[in-house]
């Protein structure tokens, strides 16, 4: 295979601009920024980082859908391009939120690592070959470990980073082991070659082992039960904007990565979850993960009193529904899954953004601390209203449509004669449970009067306000006109 460098550069100009942007941010801070005040350094770093993300977004969209690149090592299809754009937007929102709220030292390093993580997500979105995909995943993961532990003043942050790292390292080891078994079985690290070889040689016990290894890593990345244990602690301890990135862009990129691997690559080992002719395969395992996540997430969230932990359990519950979308992607294509994951990411970034602004003002982290938010900051209360209701899946917000599309796809997948149909029903009924804990948050924010002594106005920094409004607006617009996002798949 000869490498076509112009083609390669053309396809990855976006990633190149991210890396370049990262160098510029670090260079600027090292030379000019040293003499400035911390606020100015934050602003300069975030502006430079934002510019890099924006140019990557523009370049990525200009490249558009071109199909396989570099002999199929990368796949720039609608899913890849869409995911790339979405993770860049999510990372951009995260940066805007960080700009106004972070009390962290080392602004340039923070922004640079966000850019590195975005590079990793962006590559994960299009990688088709096991080794490249693994490298992209690790680039993103290592960046996220650092981001989780970035707040050196709080021990919780270090705890979060350590937990995330230990779980993540373990899951990466599983994934690599699984990949090496796949390579051993098929003699290739290329997804399409693996698919062909698996179809030729039939199933084997070793393949099952490899599948389980891969799915363990998948479960970790998606925060699906029973591999979810890291999520509440990390979401609680990490700096709010790092948690936002972990919960949104990382999840979206991971789902894209695995849906590519599972359906085209391991399509032979799918199995069947129809009730009449059940056969083992990864579909059955994913169905188990989905069911466990729906139950653990929704019922776990009922008991939470800390807003971040509640968001973590809600993330686990959403992971269950997202896995349903992964299964349904076999017939419906990745469009419902992508829509769900992208809009879920927007709502989560928004919700963590509100948490970040509140914590910067010394409010939180308990749900009870939100009391009187409608009077202390109508903007935050209004935005939180939209984010939480989108997470709860209330129309006309985008979260509703994502859920609807995924459930419809899951029921279309095999009707009620298949496990996916029953899972979709379970997910629909559990959404009534979910509404209870979401309304508890909104009750504090919008109904309860301010606690005595805690009724001052909360200042919202300009950049953060803009990011929150943007996310809220996107959720409303995509909810009313879902075709804006879905049409890229048709």
């Amino acid at each position: 295979m000869t490498t076509n460098y112009p083609e390669l550069f053309c396809a990855f100009a976006g990633e190149a601009s991210l890396v370049l942007g990262m160098l510029v941010v670090l260079g600027y801070d090292l030379t000019v920024g040293r003499k400035r005040s911390p606020t100015e350094r934050w602003q300069a770093s975030c502006i430079l980082g934002g510019a890099a993300l924006f140019s990557a977004l523009v370049v990525g969209l200009r490249v558009g859908v071109v199909g396989p690149v570099l002999g199929g090592e990368f796949m720039l299809d609608a899913l890849g391009v869409g995911t790339r754009a979405a993770v860049l937007v999510l990372a951009g929102l995260t940066l805007m939120l960080t700009a106004g709220t972070a009390r962290l030292r080392n602004p340039a390093e923070f922004v640079a690592i966000v850019l590195l993580a975005a590079t990793g997500f962006s590559l994960m979105a299009v990688a088709q070959q096991l080794l490249v995909a693994f490298l992209a995943l690790e680039l993103a993961s290592l960046s996220l470990y650092v981001l989780a532990g970035f707040d050196k003043t709080r021990p919780e942050s270090a705890e979060a980073a350590l937990k995330y790292f230990l779980f993540g390292g373990m899951s990466a080891a599983f994934l690599l082991f699984g990949f090496s078994l796949l390579y051993g079985l098929t003699g290739s690290i290329d997804t399409s070659a693996i698919a062909a070889a698996l179809a030729a040689q039939g199933s084997s016990p070793l393949l099952s082992v490899a599948l389980v290894m891969v799915l363990v890593a998948f479960g970790f990345k998606a925060a699906a039960a029973p591999f979810h244990l890291w999520a509440p602690d990390v979401y609680q301890g990490a700096p709010a904007t790092s948690a936002a990135l972990i919960a949104s862009a990382s999840k979206l990129a991971g789902l894209t990565f695995f849906v590519r691997l599972l359906w085209p690559g391991l399509g032979y080992a799918t199995g069947d979850v129809a009730l009449r002719h059940f056969s083992p395969g990864w579909l059955a395992v994913v169905a188990l993960l989905s069911a466990a996540s729906l139950l653990v997430g929704n019922f776990g969230a009922l008991a939470q009193s800390n807003l971040r932990r509640l968001l973590a359990y809600s993330a686990i519950a959403h992971a269950g529904a997202l896995l349903l979308g992964v299964m349904a992607a076999g017939t419906a294509g990745p469009a419902p899954l992508y829509f769900y994951a992208a809009t879920y990411g927007l709502a989560t970034v928004g919700a963590f953004g509100v948490v970040a602004v509140l914590e910067a003002a010394g409010v939180g982290p308990q749900i009870a601390d939100l009391a009187g938010l409608y009077r202390r900051s109508p903007l935050l209360a209004g935005c939180l209203f939209i984010f939480i209701l989108s997470l709860a899946g209330i129309p006309p917000l985008a979260g509703f449509f994502g859920k609807f599309a995924v459930f419809a796809a899951a029921l279309n997948f095999g009707g009620l004669a298949s496990v996916t149909g029953w899972l979709a029903f379970a997910a629909i009924f559990l959404s009534a449970v979910a509404l209870y804990y979401y309304l508890r948050v909104l009750k504090q924010a919008l109904v309860a009067p301010p606690a005595p002594g805690a009724d001052g106005r909360i200042a919202v920094p300009g950049a953060a306000a803009l990011a929150l409004l943007l996310a809220a607006l996107l959720l409303v617009v995509l909810g009313v006109f879902p075709s804006l996002l879905l049409q890229i798949f048709s």
Binding site: L389, F404, F429, S431, A432, L435, S490
Partner: protein, 500 residues
């Protein structure tokens, strides 16, 4: 007629405007709210004037919404929709008049109020099951905040219970609709398309789908034994929200049963029909009996709503055009009368005397302190009992006569409910307004004179009383819209006497 979709947009715009106006002053927000409500009333009345019942279901808007799922933004109206749209507009206007005294967060109150109204208008206009579901869910969430923030007794409990019941009901509906959509090949959510696809479903599928969708809607209609959210929710809600809840939101459930569950899954309906009929009859008698022993004035009205909605469900279960037309008329009538009852109980009496306990009220010579409220309540009570001359009479009579043709036993037991309604209404009138016929006992008179009934309250009460008397004297105004709609091909499968 073609302006009807504007009711939805006007309501949502009004919600935003009220929110903005509320940041200036409460009075501005009130006037914005009143203008919004009157605009919707004008639109629906103009449509009513030009309405031709013989045209059947008239499409108003039909554009693709989500092409990849086959969802179309399809709005249409027939006589049934129009009846309920007029009801919604009247109830919304009266509700604004009866919440004229809300001083706290007025803008937000009316914003949520009109978000709810907009959703209700949307449901009554939808001809696509997806669109209907979206508007149905839009109408759920504002209720929580209206009750939890501006409500009274046990409001957070009542609000959460109500919203979780509604949302669980809508989850059942969603499950049933998605099942039908998937079984039909995942092409379209249009009611006509779904009904056409449903012909090919197996019997088991029809039974299951009907059970899910009907039960989901019936929860909101207050069907026994899933009615328990209604009394607590009504009691906890602020006056205008009680009026809307009993007046129009419960109608959403009944409308969903009639418009979605029954025509889409006729085989399922035939199977479940006896169950629904018995549950409706039990609900009528049980809720009437419970209303008879309530100590709280508002609980009497709350249970009376459940009892009256039982008549609506009975009319649907009887499955003939006469009973079903009575059911739709009863939806209208109960919407007006329940609004009136809650207005008197919640706004006129409770906000002046600060008690709703009948035991306390009987010590006050309320008929002398609040003569206007007394007269209004007596009229509302007569309408609620089904006295001739008020809208309740033609509605319940039509239902009972229609039901007799299907099952004399149901009609006989339900007629007992009419007697119970007379009993609990007279008891409430007697204890509340005419409890003390003696000159006031020392200490029983309120320390301060009660504030007089305001102009807004009088206007709202006159609007509602006028409507119920008008329909009571001339029910054909509405029946001429309703009956042709029920004779349409869609209903001929399930309703006897369908051929015009």
């Amino acid at each position: 007629m073609n302006a009807l979709p504007c009711t939805i947009y006007v309501s949502f715009t009004g919600a935003l405007l009220a929110l903005v106006a509320g940041t200036r002053s409460a009075a501005t927000a009130r006037w914005v709210a009143l203008v919004t409500a009157l605009t919707t009333l004008a639109i629906t009345l103009m449509a009513a004037v030009s309405f031709v019942p013989a045209l059947g279901m008239q499409t108003l808007v039909d554009v693709p919404w989500v092409a990849s799922l086959g969802v179309r933004y399809h709005l249409a109206a027939d006589g049934i929709s129009l009846t309920l749209l007029v009801l919604t507009a009247i109830a919304a206007t009266a509700g604004v008049l009866f919440s004229w005294n809300i001083e706290e967060r007025t803008g937000e109150f009316f914003a949520l109020y009109f978000a709810l109204i907009g959703g209700v208008f949307g449901v009554f206009l939808s001809a696509d099951a997806f669109v209907l579901f979206v508007f149905y869910e839009i109408a759920i969430v504002p209720k929580y905040f209206l009750i939890a923030r501006w409500g009274s007794t046990n409001r957070e409990y009542g609000a959460m219970k109500l919203v979780l019941y509604s949302f669980a009901g809508s989850a059942l509906v969603l499950a049933g609709l998605l099942w039908a959509y998937a079984a039909g090949g995942g092409q379209s959510f249009g009611m006509g398309d779904l009904a056409a696809a449903a012909v090919h479903f197996t019997r088991a599928e029809q039974l299951g789908m009907f059970a899910l969708v009907f039960l989901g809607f019936a929860v909101l209609a207050g069907m026994f034994p899933f009615h328990t959210w209604a009394p607590t929710g009504h009691v906890a809600a602020p006056t205008a929200a009680s009026m809307l809840l009993a007046g129009v939101v419960m109608k959403l459930g009944a409308y969903g049963c009639l418009r979605v569950a029954m025509p889409l899954f006729p085989v399922g309906f035939v199977f479940w029909q006896p169950t629904i009929g018995w549950l409706a009859v039990i609900g009528i008698v049980y809720a009437g009996g419970v209303a008879l022993v309530q100590g709280d004035f508002k609980f009497v009205s709350g249970y009376s709503s459940v009892s009256h909605m039982g008549f609506v469900l009975l009319g649907l279960a009887a499955a003939n055009v006469q009973a079903a037309s009575g059911a739709v008329l009863q939806m209208f009538s109960h919407g007006i009368v329940a609004g009136l009852l809650f207005a008197v109980v919640g706004r006129m009496v409770y906000e002046r005397t600060h008690t709703r306990q009948l035991a306390d009220l009987r010590n006050l010579p309320l008929h002398r302190l609040l003569p206007f409220a007394a007269v209004t309540f007596v009229l509302a009570g007569l309408a609620s009992m089904g006295m001739p001359g008020f809208s309740g009479f033609p509605a319940e009579l039509t239902i009972l006569v229609g039901t007799w043709k299907t099952s004399p036993l149901w009609a006989a037991v339900a007629a007992l409910g009419v007697l119970l309604a007379a009993a609990f209404t007279l008891r409430a009138i007697q204890l509340s307004f005419f409890g003390s016929t003696q000159p006031a006992v020392a200490g029983a008179m309120p320390a301060h004179p009660l504030p007089p009934i305001t102009l807004a309250e009088k206007a709202g009460a006159l609007l509602l009383v006028g409507t119920t008397v008008l329909i009571g004297l001339k029910p054909d105004l509405l029946l001429n819209w309703i009956i042709p709609s029920l004779q349409s091909p869609l209903y001929q499968v399930i309703l006897k006497g369908g051929a015009p």
